[in-house]
């Protein structure tokens, strides 16, 4: 087990974590501002990936595809919010879970009807092919770009929320709904914008990740569940919590899968060690989440007091 | 004099920089109504929370019938005889008035882990619940769901639920709120008889009712008890007059 390999896995973990952050940021914003559990967030991720792959395939440009994926997810998000989601804000969590579960069924089948049952493939853009030397390790340029992209979006989101008028309204919406409505802010429009923003981030993540895995129906759900783990660990409604949670989950999951079988191999025979190690590694982040909730029932960074 | 039924010893609770209750001590003796008054934000709600167990104190103790209950849960305190009514009516909305009282009786008997016998066919339990509803004058409304009772009826049902617990002491949080003059008059008469069964710690905004009912009154201001005494003593107290009337307090 060389240091280079460990470093590579660590970078993979960070990259994975940053993509999870893109997913989680929207999810946590929507819960923080509107109090809504949105299971269909993974479908928006899928829509971003499909549109990106289809448009990139047709135009030959990854970047046009990326913009298309992002725009499609944002538009789908706004549409879903206006047709369905806004009827759910005053409902209990059970109704929200069910209605958005129904949306998953509808959107997954819808995508399958439009794009067919087979996976699409999305190529890494030419400019980002190959590897780059980081001293002791040659690392995938595209994954490194994803890390840079993730950091840039995180900074942009922070600026948006902390510095702009829209951000002030979003934060006000988190703390006092009636008050900002009384101040004449159009709360319906604000909610649609927040939802579309979250959708755009999810679509962006889907499009970016689409180039390193196959684009298929159902790709959104595993990521969705991980994103929930992230925001529950981080504290629902907290962007900072989403960032910390995403990096924790990304790194622990990646390193667990890499290290645990090797650790067990030191005292078990290889096939047994692989089995036990893999079983434990796949449970690790859920274990982490359960532990966090047991000791800090509102997550690491509770958003409201 | 006999030991107090309920005793607060130096209860203190801070929320950040705000000290909501500050070293509050008071007693509730057998057969009395002890009223707690004070301007808004004086810490009455916090104090009720501390007594009922919803809020944990930073310092101080709560004693009920000679037992330290400071560390016990809300449910445990209720089982030991703390009968609480809520400021905002807090009933089981989908249960009828009768069923709300039956639930309290069931809770008092401590037998909620019974899985087989249908509770609504438990005739002794029904009869006892009906009798309690009759005492507060709600027997005609027994089968109406709590959610569909009028505001005044819900206040009465609150009292009926507290009665069903047959507590050692009552903790009544603004029982007169929104009752109207006739309802208030009836309730005043009722509470006067009720205190013979168990003493009442009464938080109330209706000053007229307080001075008619209370054997002793404590005045809470900024989390501190500034005076305790009979109605006339409180009326004459210079510090109280300063708080309520803005008169200059002698230093």
């Amino acid at each position: 087990m060389s240091l280079a390999l460990v470093l590579e896995q660590l970078l993979n973990g960070v990259q994975f974590g940053l993509m999870l952050f893109l997913m989680s940021a929207g999810l946590t914003l929507v819960f923080g501002v509107m109090g809504l559990i949105n299971l269909a967030h993974g479908s928006l991720y899928m829509i971003g990936a499909f549109l990106c792959a289809a448009v990139a395939g047709a135009t030959g440009s990854f970047w046009i595809g990326l913009v298309a994926g992002l725009a499609a997810a944002a538009a789908a998000g706004a549409l879903i919010e206006i047709i369905v989601i806004r009827r759910l804000y005053d409902r209990d969590h059970l109704d929200q879970v069910l209605a958005t579960f129904a949306l998953i069924l509808i959107l997954s089948e819808g995508v399958r009807m439009i794009f067919g049952p087979f996976p699409l493939y999305l190529n890494v853009p030419d400019a980002l092919r190959g590897t780059v030397s980081l001293g002791i390790v040659d690392y995938s340029l595209y994954r490194l770009a994803l890390i840079g992209f993730g950091v840039a979006v995180a900074v942009g989101l922070w600026v948006l929320i902390a510095k702009t008028r829209l951000g002030i309204r979003i934060r006000a919406g988190e703390s006092d709904r009636e008050m900002i409505a009384a101040l004449g802010v159009n709360i319906r429009a604000l909610y649609t914008i927040v939802f579309a923003l979250g959708a755009a981030l999810a679509g962006l993540a889907g499009a970016l990740v689409g180039a390193i895995q196959s684009v298929q129906v159902g790709m959104g759900e595993p990521v969705l569940i991980l994103a929930f783990v992230v925001i529950v660990i981080g504290g629902i409604g907290s962007i900072k919590g989403a960032m910390v949670g995403a990096l924790l989950v990304g790194v622990i999951d990646t390193m667990g899968r890499f290290l645990l079988p090797r650790i067990f191999a030191t005292f078990l025979d290889t096939s047994q060690a692989m089995g036990v190690g893999a079983a434990l590694a796949s449970m690790l982040i859920y274990l982490l989440m359960a532990l966090v909730l047991i000791f800090r029932p509102k997550g690491l960074f509770p958003a409201h007091g | 004099m006999a030991d107090p039924v309920l005793e607060l010893r130096g209860l203190t609770r801070r929320f950040g920089a705000l000290t909501a209750t500050d070293d509050v001590s008071l007693t509730l003796r057998r057969g009395e109504i002890h009223a707690l008054i004070g301007p808004n934000g004086a810490g009455k709600s916090t104090l009720m929370g501390l007594i009922s167990g919803k809020i944990a104190p930073d310092a101080g103790e709560v004693w009920l019938g000679g037992q330290n209950i400071t560390r016990l849960s809300v449910a445990r305190r209720a089982q030991l005889g703390l009968g609480r009514s809520f400021q905002v009516s807090s009933l089981i909305p989908e249960y009828s008035a009768l069923r709300n009282v039956m639930l309290a009786l069931q809770a008092r008997q401590g037998h909620s882990y019974r899985f087989l016998r249908p509770v609504m066919r438990d005739q002794p339990l029904r009869a006892e619940a009906r009798a309690i509803l009759a005492r507060v004058g709600l027997d005609a409304r027994a089968s109406v769901e709590a959610a569909f009772l009028s505001h005044g009826e819900r206040r009465l049902l609150e009292i009926a639920v507290a009665l069903a617990l047959a507590p050692r002491c009552f903790l009544l949080d603004e029982p007169m709120a929104g009752l109207g003059s006739e309802g208030t008059a009836r309730l005043v008469g009722f509470l006067r008889r009720l205190k013979q069964e168990a003493p009442i710690l009464l938080v109330e905004h209706d000053m007229d009712a307080v001075f008619r009912l209370a054997d002793r009154i404590s005045v809470l201001v900024y989390g501190r008890v500034i005076a305790t005494g009979t109605g006339p003593e409180i009326r004459a107290n210079a510090q109280v007059r300063a708080v309520y009337l803005g008169e200059e307090a002698p230093t």
Binding site: A99 | P93, A104
Partner: protein, 326 residues
């Protein structure tokens, strides 16, 4: 006719239909229909279990597939060792007796539900939903990557487990077993709901602070309800494994947990026969629309969305009106 009477009538019709249709199928020699009815009955049992936690107690468990899968693996592992003649561990033999398997499945599921419940009930709201999901995901990934019992390929049951006096290889016999257990589970649910325990549990759902203030500790009542709930769903899991003669991690997938909730919502939350109606709708939908179009899940989604947005009482609520809580 008042709504309580209407609901009883509707329940009787459903109980009758669930028996009459496979009986007709037996005469008409349509074993496929009998198996469908068996599947409805078993799914309904699983949902009766969840209905205790969710319908009566208001605990939105998004991880009940864990108990379904656990019960399934109990049946699968017992049958696997009985078939091979190997001990499960330390000399403990496998078995192919359903009654023993059911008992073990209920005990094991109840024990796991006690642990999960004790930890999860410290939280509430969305956190409760998510922590129950997390525990189920642990189970899912554990079975997925643990190689001893088939891992992601699952574990087949070569010979269906036995029930005294009946031939479980015959669809009709297996149906009668499932139907009998369903009726027992429904009876247990009805008793529980009407008893003091049910009164306390439903009160806690509506107003936990009030329940505590009159001396009923929400935690204890909820935990016991959660354990009973897990036990019944675990029992259904063991039966489901025997029906399909196969267990796999898919039984513990989060979509399965979602389906169990969907069944209850489609039928009507907290209603005695809600799980039966919901399971029949779900299976019927899959068979009927699945035959018409490969995109039947789109229509299922639309129906579910419609029910959640516009018909909160589910099917039974639509027909019988608002529930009686008297």
């Amino acid at each position: 006719m008042d709504s309580a009477r209407k609901e009883w009538l509707l329940n009787a019709v459903m109980a009758g239909a669930l028996f009459a249709v496979p009986l007709w199928a037996l005469m008409a020699n349509e074993p496929f229909i009998i198996t469908l009815a068996t599947r409805i009955a078993i799914l309904a049992i699983a949902a009766v279990g969840l209905n205790i936690a969710l319908g009566l107690g208001g605990m939105v468990s998004f991880g009940h597939a864990l108990y379904l899968g656990l019960g399934g693996y109990v049946a699968g592992i017992a049958a696997h060792h009985a078939f091979n003649g190997t001990p499960v561990f330390a000399g403990l033999p496998g078995t192919n007796q359903m009654l023993i398997i059911w008992g073990v499945a209920m005990v094991v599921s109840g024990a796991l539900a006690a642990i999960v419940g004790a930890l999860s009930l410290r939280t509430s709201g969305i956190f409760f939903i998510m922590i129950t999901l997390a525990f189920a995901q642990m189970g899912f990934f554990f079975t997925l990557s643990w190689p001893a019992y088939g891992g992601e390929d699952g574990l087949p049951i070569f010979v269906r487990n036995q029930f005294p006096g009946l031939n479980t290889a015959r669809p009709w016999h297996l149906f009668v077993i499932a139907y009998g257990v369903l009726i027992l589970a429904l009876a247990a649910f009805a008793l529980l709901r009407a008893a003091r325990f049910g009164a306390a549990l439903m009160a806690i759902r509506q107003n936990p602070d009030r329940a505590a203030a009159i001396g009923i500790s929400p935690f204890g009542i909820r935990l016991v309800a959660f354990i009973l709930s897990g036990m019944i769903t675990g029992l259904a899991g063991a039966m489901m494994a025997d029906l399909t003669r196969f267990v796999s991690p898919a039984m513990m997938a989060w979509t399965m947990s979602g389906e169990l909730i969907v069944i209850i919502i489609l039928g009507g939350v907290g209603r005695l026969f809600g799980p039966v109606a919901g399971a029949a709708i779900l299976v019927g939908f899959e068979v009927f629309f699945g035959g018409l179009t490969e995109h039947w899940k789109l229509w299922l989604g639309l129906v579910l969305l419609g029910v959640v947005l516009f018909a909160r009482g589910g099917l039974i609520g639509l027909i019988a009106g608002r529930g009686q809580h008297g």
